[in-house]
């Protein structure tokens, strides 16, 4: 898989109305629909992700899991991250970074991220007009938008 297939958008069609449904239930349902199991390890990993501050990296997640009494191997963490991405529950964000960054995506409408290049702090931004504009661009070209990524790099005006 070279470019990210963005399965998030694929499922949002159906799932937009289910935002009240807890993520673990969503995950369980998605797994069952492809004959896979909702194991304690997978539940644990999803829990840890939910408890983390928005954007996270695989090693941060693994570190957090290590601290919990319920141990999960690195391999399972990576495998589950991929499952969650396929299910549209998380999605990969950011680039120009050496590691992949992920973010909860299911039921969210975040339009993009604001990265402070000095502090490395990452803030989600919400701008619905971006999605509308995205859809128009695609329509003009006979395409259907599956999703988008928008990242702004910025720094404080008073610094420098």
């Amino acid at each position: 898989m070279d470019l990210q297939p963005l399965p998030a958008a694929k499922s949002l069609d159906l799932d937009d109305l289910h935002i009240i449904e807890p993520l673990c239930a969503v995950f369980r349902r998605k797994l069952k629909s492809v004959g896979q199991k909702y194991t304690p390890e997978r539940a644990q990993i999803l829990d840890a992700i939910i408890q983390m501050d928005d954007v996270f990296q695989a090693d941060q997640l693994i570190e957090r899991l290590k601290k919990s009494q319920f141990r999960v191997s690195k391999a399972t963490a990576y495998r589950t991250i991929k499952l969650l991405a396929d299910a549209g529950i998380i999605q990969q964000v950011l680039f120009g970074a050496d590691q992949a960054h992920y973010q909860l995506a299911y039921g969210k409408r975040s339009s993009g991220l604001l990265v402070d290049v000095d502090t490395k702090q990452i803030t989600p931004i919400d701008a619905p007009e971006i999605a509308a504009w995205r859809d128009r661009i695609c329509r003009e070209r006979g395409l259907k938008a599956e999703g988008h990524r928008f990242v702004i790099y910025a720094r404080s005006v008073n610094v420098q």
Copy 2:
């Protein structure tokens, strides 16, 4: 370096007016300003990049260089890619891909990329309003925009 510092924006302040200047001259000047040399290898690599179709990956570039009679080692290719990025002549784009993708950036005002998830074809899109949004969002938070990345993932409507 974890997150991309986007040196492009840093230099665009000064260089917006020099779009007529050939890229090799820009590169030479940037190198000289930090006591580095514009070597035949570096010239060759920049040439190859200019001849490539917009977005490229390191291994595509290396492949192209291999075919030319003037051989350049992989190490030098990677080192020069980094120099060019630092100089703001190219910038890293895309994510969710296993390899880094780069694009000529100097003097360009391309607002984003449109990725066809089926064909993997990548089309630059140009929309000044994105930069306007970016600047507004930053201003509202007391930040100064250094740059942005915008990627739309889409597929043909007639395909499924």
